[in-house]
Symmetry: C2
Subunit: 193 residues, 2 copies
Protein backbone atom coordinates (compact mmCIF):
# COMPACT_ATOMS: atom_id res chain seq x y z
CA UNK A 1 0.00 0.00 0.00
CA UNK A 2 1.34 3.42 -0.89
CA UNK A 3 1.07 6.39 1.44
CA UNK A 4 -0.64 9.29 -0.23
CA UNK A 5 1.05 12.67 0.24
CA UNK A 6 -0.28 15.09 2.85
CA UNK A 7 -3.20 17.11 1.55
CA UNK A 8 -4.83 20.33 2.63
CA UNK A 9 -8.35 21.36 3.51
CA UNK A 10 -11.41 19.75 2.00
CA UNK A 11 -9.50 17.26 -0.13
CA UNK A 12 -7.57 15.98 2.83
CA UNK A 13 -10.69 15.78 4.99
CA UNK A 14 -12.46 13.83 2.28
CA UNK A 15 -9.53 11.46 1.87
CA UNK A 16 -9.44 10.78 5.60
CA UNK A 17 -13.15 10.04 5.72
CA UNK A 18 -12.95 7.75 2.70
CA UNK A 19 -10.03 5.94 4.30
CA UNK A 20 -12.00 5.57 7.53
CA UNK A 21 -14.83 3.81 5.72
CA UNK A 22 -12.51 1.58 3.70
CA UNK A 23 -10.45 0.56 6.68
CA UNK A 24 -13.52 0.17 8.89
CA UNK A 25 -15.04 -2.26 6.41
CA UNK A 26 -11.80 -4.21 6.17
CA UNK A 27 -10.93 -4.59 9.84
CA UNK A 28 -14.16 -3.72 11.68
CA UNK A 29 -14.91 -0.88 14.07
CA UNK A 30 -13.39 -2.58 17.11
CA UNK A 31 -9.99 -2.73 15.41
CA UNK A 32 -10.18 0.72 13.85
CA UNK A 33 -7.94 3.40 15.37
CA UNK A 34 -7.14 7.03 14.68
CA UNK A 35 -3.51 5.95 14.20
CA UNK A 36 -4.36 3.37 11.54
CA UNK A 37 -6.58 5.79 9.64
CA UNK A 38 -3.91 8.52 9.81
CA UNK A 39 -1.24 6.14 8.56
CA UNK A 40 -3.21 4.89 5.60
CA UNK A 41 -4.51 8.35 4.68
CA UNK A 42 -1.01 9.82 4.85
CA UNK A 43 -2.08 12.34 7.47
CA UNK A 44 -0.73 13.08 10.90
CA UNK A 45 -2.58 11.91 13.99
CA UNK A 46 -2.77 15.56 15.10
CA UNK A 47 -4.60 16.45 11.90
CA UNK A 48 -7.26 13.88 12.72
CA UNK A 49 -7.60 14.91 16.36
CA UNK A 50 -7.83 18.58 15.39
CA UNK A 51 -11.08 17.83 13.59
CA UNK A 52 -12.45 14.73 15.36
CA UNK A 53 -12.33 14.12 19.09
CA UNK A 54 -12.65 10.33 18.76
CA UNK A 55 -12.88 7.57 16.21
CA UNK A 56 -16.62 7.59 16.83
CA UNK A 57 -16.87 11.22 15.73
CA UNK A 58 -14.67 10.48 12.73
CA UNK A 59 -16.73 7.48 11.68
CA UNK A 60 -19.95 9.45 12.06
CA UNK A 61 -18.71 12.22 9.79
CA UNK A 62 -17.42 9.66 7.33
CA UNK A 63 -20.76 7.88 7.14
CA UNK A 64 -22.65 11.14 6.76
CA UNK A 65 -20.30 12.33 4.02
CA UNK A 66 -21.53 9.50 1.83
CA UNK A 67 -24.81 10.94 0.69
CA UNK A 68 -26.16 13.51 3.07
CA UNK A 69 -28.43 15.36 0.61
CA UNK A 70 -29.99 12.01 -0.32
CA UNK A 71 -31.60 11.94 3.10
CA UNK A 72 -33.79 14.95 2.37
CA UNK A 73 -37.52 14.34 2.09
CA UNK A 74 -39.30 14.64 -1.23
CA UNK A 75 -42.36 16.92 -1.25
CA UNK A 76 -44.57 15.31 -3.87
CA UNK A 77 -47.70 16.00 -1.86
CA UNK A 78 -48.15 12.30 -0.97
CA UNK A 79 -46.97 11.92 2.62
CA UNK A 80 -46.83 8.13 2.66
CA UNK A 81 -44.86 7.98 -0.59
CA UNK A 82 -42.46 10.71 0.54
CA UNK A 83 -41.74 9.14 3.91
CA UNK A 84 -41.27 5.76 2.27
CA UNK A 85 -38.79 7.16 -0.26
CA UNK A 86 -36.73 8.93 2.40
CA UNK A 87 -36.70 5.96 4.76
CA UNK A 88 -35.70 3.58 1.97
CA UNK A 89 -32.77 5.87 1.17
CA UNK A 90 -31.68 6.30 4.79
CA UNK A 91 -31.92 2.59 5.54
CA UNK A 92 -30.16 1.58 2.33
CA UNK A 93 -27.35 3.96 3.18
CA UNK A 94 -26.89 3.27 6.89
CA UNK A 95 -28.36 -0.11 7.73
CA UNK A 96 -27.40 -2.37 4.81
CA UNK A 97 -24.11 -3.41 3.25
CA UNK A 98 -21.44 -2.15 3.04
CA UNK A 99 -21.85 0.42 5.83
CA UNK A 100 -24.53 -1.14 8.04
CA UNK A 101 -22.10 -2.94 10.34
CA UNK A 102 -20.15 0.30 10.89
CA UNK A 103 -23.26 2.33 11.67
CA UNK A 104 -24.44 -0.39 14.05
CA UNK A 105 -21.05 -0.37 15.77
CA UNK A 106 -21.22 3.40 16.05
CA UNK A 107 -24.56 3.24 17.85
CA UNK A 108 -23.12 0.52 20.07
CA UNK A 109 -20.21 2.82 20.91
CA UNK A 110 -22.70 5.58 21.76
CA UNK A 111 -23.86 3.39 24.67
CA UNK A 112 -20.39 3.46 26.21
CA UNK A 113 -19.04 6.84 25.13
CA UNK A 114 -21.09 9.94 25.88
CA UNK A 115 -19.18 12.03 23.32
CA UNK A 116 -20.13 9.65 20.53
CA UNK A 117 -23.76 9.79 21.64
CA UNK A 118 -23.72 13.58 21.60
CA UNK A 119 -22.06 13.68 18.17
CA UNK A 120 -24.55 11.17 16.78
CA UNK A 121 -27.43 13.32 17.96
CA UNK A 122 -25.97 16.66 16.91
CA UNK A 123 -24.60 15.58 13.54
CA UNK A 124 -27.29 13.16 12.42
CA UNK A 125 -30.38 12.69 14.57
CA UNK A 126 -31.25 16.34 15.25
CA UNK A 127 -30.92 17.49 11.61
CA UNK A 128 -32.95 14.47 10.49
CA UNK A 129 -35.59 15.23 13.13
CA UNK A 130 -35.86 18.81 11.85
CA UNK A 131 -36.42 17.59 8.29
CA UNK A 132 -38.93 14.99 9.44
CA UNK A 133 -40.92 17.48 11.49
CA UNK A 134 -40.95 19.96 8.61
CA UNK A 135 -42.24 17.31 6.19
CA UNK A 136 -44.91 16.18 8.65
CA UNK A 137 -45.98 19.73 9.46
CA UNK A 138 -46.54 20.36 5.75
CA UNK A 139 -48.62 17.18 5.60
CA UNK A 140 -50.63 18.27 8.63
CA UNK A 141 -51.38 21.59 6.95
CA UNK A 142 -52.65 19.60 3.96
CA UNK A 143 -54.87 17.40 6.13
CA UNK A 144 -52.82 14.24 5.49
CA UNK A 145 -51.68 13.96 9.09
CA UNK A 146 -53.85 13.82 12.17
CA UNK A 147 -54.12 17.32 13.70
CA UNK A 148 -53.41 15.63 17.06
CA UNK A 149 -50.19 13.99 15.90
CA UNK A 150 -47.38 14.76 18.35
CA UNK A 151 -44.68 16.16 16.04
CA UNK A 152 -42.01 15.96 18.75
CA UNK A 153 -42.40 12.19 18.64
CA UNK A 154 -42.02 11.93 14.87
CA UNK A 155 -38.47 10.54 14.85
CA UNK A 156 -39.06 8.09 17.68
CA UNK A 157 -42.28 6.79 16.14
CA UNK A 158 -41.02 6.51 12.57
CA UNK A 159 -37.46 5.33 13.12
CA UNK A 160 -37.83 3.53 16.47
CA UNK A 161 -39.18 0.34 14.89
CA UNK A 162 -36.28 0.40 12.40
CA UNK A 163 -33.62 0.84 15.08
CA UNK A 164 -35.31 -1.95 17.02
CA UNK A 165 -34.70 -4.29 14.10
CA UNK A 166 -31.18 -3.02 13.42
CA UNK A 167 -29.97 -3.07 17.03
CA UNK A 168 -32.10 -5.58 18.91
CA UNK A 169 -33.34 -8.40 16.69
CA UNK A 170 -30.59 -7.63 14.17
CA UNK A 171 -32.60 -8.88 11.21
CA UNK A 172 -32.29 -7.36 7.72
CA UNK A 173 -34.07 -4.03 7.22
CA UNK A 174 -35.87 -4.71 3.96
CA UNK A 175 -38.12 -2.35 2.06
CA UNK A 176 -40.99 -4.78 2.70
CA UNK A 177 -40.44 -4.39 6.44
CA UNK A 178 -40.43 -0.60 6.13
CA UNK A 179 -43.72 -0.77 4.20
CA UNK A 180 -45.33 -2.90 6.91
CA UNK A 181 -44.15 -0.52 9.66
CA UNK A 182 -45.50 2.52 7.82
CA UNK A 183 -48.84 0.77 7.25
CA UNK A 184 -49.26 0.18 10.99
CA UNK A 185 -48.10 3.67 11.97
CA UNK A 186 -50.41 5.36 9.51
CA UNK A 187 -53.45 3.28 10.40
CA UNK A 188 -52.92 3.03 14.17
CA UNK A 189 -53.55 0.06 16.41
CA UNK A 190 -57.20 0.60 17.27
CA UNK A 191 -59.94 -0.29 14.78
CA UNK A 192 -61.14 2.36 12.35
CA UNK A 193 -64.84 2.55 11.62
CA UNK B 1 -14.96 -6.98 51.92
CA UNK B 2 -15.36 -10.59 53.03
CA UNK B 3 -15.44 -13.46 50.58
CA UNK B 4 -18.60 -15.49 50.96
CA UNK B 5 -18.09 -19.28 51.10
CA UNK B 6 -18.69 -21.32 47.97
CA UNK B 7 -22.36 -22.15 47.56
CA UNK B 8 -24.22 -24.74 45.57
CA UNK B 9 -26.98 -24.59 43.02
CA UNK B 10 -29.66 -21.93 43.03
CA UNK B 11 -28.28 -20.01 46.00
CA UNK B 12 -24.87 -19.72 44.42
CA UNK B 13 -26.34 -18.71 41.06
CA UNK B 14 -28.42 -16.04 42.74
CA UNK B 15 -25.45 -14.73 44.71
CA UNK B 16 -23.37 -14.47 41.54
CA UNK B 17 -26.08 -12.56 39.72
CA UNK B 18 -26.62 -10.19 42.65
CA UNK B 19 -22.88 -9.59 42.79
CA UNK B 20 -22.82 -8.89 39.05
CA UNK B 21 -25.42 -6.13 39.45
CA UNK B 22 -23.74 -4.62 42.51
CA UNK B 23 -20.31 -4.60 40.95
CA UNK B 24 -21.66 -3.44 37.59
CA UNK B 25 -23.26 -0.43 39.26
CA UNK B 26 -20.08 0.36 41.16
CA UNK B 27 -17.51 0.11 38.39
CA UNK B 28 -19.56 0.19 35.17
CA UNK B 29 -19.98 -2.43 32.49
CA UNK B 30 -16.73 -1.61 30.69
CA UNK B 31 -14.71 -2.45 33.81
CA UNK B 32 -16.74 -5.48 34.79
CA UNK B 33 -15.07 -8.87 34.30
CA UNK B 34 -15.95 -12.50 34.98
CA UNK B 35 -12.86 -12.62 37.23
CA UNK B 36 -13.97 -9.70 39.38
CA UNK B 37 -17.47 -11.07 39.77
CA UNK B 38 -16.12 -14.52 40.68
CA UNK B 39 -13.74 -13.06 43.25
CA UNK B 40 -16.36 -10.97 45.00
CA UNK B 41 -18.99 -13.72 44.89
CA UNK B 42 -16.53 -16.27 46.29
CA UNK B 43 -17.00 -18.51 43.27
CA UNK B 44 -14.50 -19.96 40.84
CA UNK B 45 -14.17 -18.54 37.36
CA UNK B 46 -15.00 -21.99 35.98
CA UNK B 47 -18.30 -21.94 37.86
CA UNK B 48 -19.23 -18.73 36.09
CA UNK B 49 -18.11 -19.91 32.66
CA UNK B 50 -19.97 -23.20 33.08
CA UNK B 51 -23.23 -21.25 33.15
CA UNK B 52 -22.48 -18.05 31.23
CA UNK B 53 -20.40 -17.84 28.07
CA UNK B 54 -19.58 -14.15 28.54
CA UNK B 55 -20.08 -11.24 30.88
CA UNK B 56 -22.85 -10.09 28.54
CA UNK B 57 -24.77 -13.33 29.09
CA UNK B 58 -24.14 -13.09 32.84
CA UNK B 59 -25.34 -9.50 33.01
CA UNK B 60 -28.43 -10.32 31.00
CA UNK B 61 -29.42 -13.16 33.34
CA UNK B 62 -28.68 -10.95 36.32
CA UNK B 63 -30.91 -8.15 35.05
CA UNK B 64 -33.72 -10.57 34.21
CA UNK B 65 -33.48 -12.23 37.64
CA UNK B 66 -34.60 -8.95 39.21
CA UNK B 67 -38.28 -9.13 38.54
CA UNK B 68 -39.14 -11.31 35.61
CA UNK B 69 -42.79 -12.08 36.54
CA UNK B 70 -43.39 -8.33 36.86
CA UNK B 71 -43.02 -8.10 33.11
CA UNK B 72 -46.16 -10.15 32.46
CA UNK B 73 -49.13 -8.34 30.98
CA UNK B 74 -52.26 -7.74 33.03
CA UNK B 75 -55.50 -8.89 31.41
CA UNK B 76 -58.03 -6.43 32.78
CA UNK B 77 -59.86 -6.23 29.48
CA UNK B 78 -58.60 -2.69 28.80
CA UNK B 79 -55.81 -3.02 26.25
CA UNK B 80 -54.43 0.50 26.59
CA UNK B 81 -54.30 0.28 30.39
CA UNK B 82 -52.71 -3.16 30.32
CA UNK B 83 -50.02 -2.21 27.82
CA UNK B 84 -49.30 0.94 29.76
CA UNK B 85 -48.93 -0.94 33.05
CA UNK B 86 -46.56 -3.52 31.55
CA UNK B 87 -44.46 -0.96 29.72
CA UNK B 88 -44.18 1.22 32.85
CA UNK B 89 -42.91 -1.83 34.76
CA UNK B 90 -40.45 -2.90 32.06
CA UNK B 91 -39.09 0.60 31.59
CA UNK B 92 -38.82 1.26 35.33
CA UNK B 93 -36.89 -1.98 35.71
CA UNK B 94 -34.55 -1.80 32.74
CA UNK B 95 -34.24 1.79 31.60
CA UNK B 96 -34.10 3.85 34.80
CA UNK B 97 -31.82 3.89 37.81
CA UNK B 98 -30.15 1.87 39.15
CA UNK B 99 -29.99 -0.67 36.30
CA UNK B 100 -30.62 1.47 33.22
CA UNK B 101 -26.97 2.17 32.50
CA UNK B 102 -26.16 -1.55 32.68
CA UNK B 103 -29.00 -2.51 30.34
CA UNK B 104 -27.96 0.22 27.94
CA UNK B 105 -24.36 -1.04 28.04
CA UNK B 106 -25.62 -4.55 27.39
CA UNK B 107 -27.43 -3.46 24.24
CA UNK B 108 -24.30 -1.58 23.23
CA UNK B 109 -22.28 -4.77 23.66
CA UNK B 110 -24.81 -6.62 21.49
CA UNK B 111 -23.67 -4.41 18.58
CA UNK B 112 -20.12 -5.74 18.87
CA UNK B 113 -20.64 -9.30 20.17
CA UNK B 114 -22.97 -11.61 18.28
CA UNK B 115 -23.33 -13.98 21.27
CA UNK B 116 -24.64 -11.18 23.46
CA UNK B 117 -27.13 -10.22 20.75
CA UNK B 118 -28.34 -13.81 20.48
CA UNK B 119 -28.65 -14.15 24.26
CA UNK B 120 -30.52 -10.84 24.52
CA UNK B 121 -33.02 -12.04 21.94
CA UNK B 122 -33.42 -15.56 23.27
CA UNK B 123 -33.55 -14.71 26.97
CA UNK B 124 -35.50 -11.44 26.87
CA UNK B 125 -36.84 -10.18 23.56
CA UNK B 126 -38.42 -13.40 22.24
CA UNK B 127 -40.25 -14.28 25.50
CA UNK B 128 -41.47 -10.67 25.76
CA UNK B 129 -42.62 -10.76 22.14
CA UNK B 130 -44.61 -13.93 22.84
CA UNK B 131 -46.36 -12.29 25.80
CA UNK B 132 -47.02 -9.12 23.81
CA UNK B 133 -48.48 -10.98 20.86
CA UNK B 134 -50.69 -13.07 23.18
CA UNK B 135 -52.02 -9.93 24.90
CA UNK B 136 -52.67 -8.22 21.57
CA UNK B 137 -54.31 -11.29 20.07
CA UNK B 138 -56.75 -11.36 22.99
CA UNK B 139 -57.47 -7.68 22.41
CA UNK B 140 -58.04 -8.31 18.72
CA UNK B 141 -60.52 -11.05 19.55
CA UNK B 142 -62.33 -8.50 21.74
CA UNK B 143 -62.40 -5.89 18.98
CA UNK B 144 -59.99 -3.53 20.76
CA UNK B 145 -57.26 -3.96 18.18
CA UNK B 146 -57.54 -3.38 14.46
CA UNK B 147 -58.18 -6.71 12.71
CA UNK B 148 -55.45 -5.65 10.25
CA UNK B 149 -52.82 -5.05 12.92
CA UNK B 150 -49.62 -6.91 12.03
CA UNK B 151 -48.97 -8.91 15.21
CA UNK B 152 -45.44 -9.83 14.11
CA UNK B 153 -44.58 -6.14 14.34
CA UNK B 154 -45.96 -5.69 17.84
CA UNK B 155 -42.62 -5.54 19.66
CA UNK B 156 -40.96 -3.29 17.10
CA UNK B 157 -43.89 -0.88 17.05
CA UNK B 158 -44.45 -0.72 20.80
CA UNK B 159 -40.90 -0.82 22.09
CA UNK B 160 -39.03 0.70 19.13
CA UNK B 161 -39.85 4.29 20.17
CA UNK B 162 -38.67 3.50 23.70
CA UNK B 163 -35.38 1.98 22.57
CA UNK B 164 -34.92 4.99 20.30
CA UNK B 165 -35.05 7.24 23.35
CA UNK B 166 -32.91 4.94 25.51
CA UNK B 167 -30.19 4.30 22.93
CA UNK B 168 -30.23 7.21 20.49
CA UNK B 169 -31.36 10.45 22.09
CA UNK B 170 -30.56 9.05 25.55
CA UNK B 171 -33.20 11.12 27.29
CA UNK B 172 -35.09 9.89 30.37
CA UNK B 173 -37.86 7.39 29.68
CA UNK B 174 -40.67 8.90 31.73
CA UNK B 175 -44.19 7.57 32.14
CA UNK B 176 -45.42 10.73 30.42
CA UNK B 177 -43.33 9.87 27.37
CA UNK B 178 -44.72 6.33 27.33
CA UNK B 179 -48.26 7.72 27.46
CA UNK B 180 -47.60 10.02 24.52
CA UNK B 181 -46.12 7.17 22.47
CA UNK B 182 -49.07 4.90 23.18
CA UNK B 183 -51.50 7.66 22.24
CA UNK B 184 -49.88 8.04 18.81
CA UNK B 185 -49.61 4.31 18.21
CA UNK B 186 -53.23 3.68 19.13
CA UNK B 187 -54.59 6.56 17.08
CA UNK B 188 -52.31 6.29 14.06
CA UNK B 189 -50.79 9.12 12.05
CA UNK B 190 -53.54 9.74 9.53
CA UNK B 191 -56.68 11.66 10.49
CA UNK B 192 -59.67 9.77 11.82
CA UNK B 193 -63.11 10.89 10.73
Amino acid sequence: MTRTPHRRGADRTEAIMRTTLELGQEIGYANLSMEAVAARAGASKQTLYRRWSSKGALLLDSLLSLNEPGLDYPYTGDLAADLRAQIYAAVDLLAGPPYGALFQALVGEAQHDRRVAVALNERFIAPQADKTVARLRAARDQGQLSPDFDLDLAMAILSGPLYFRLLITQEPLTHAYIDRVLDVLFAGMTPRP
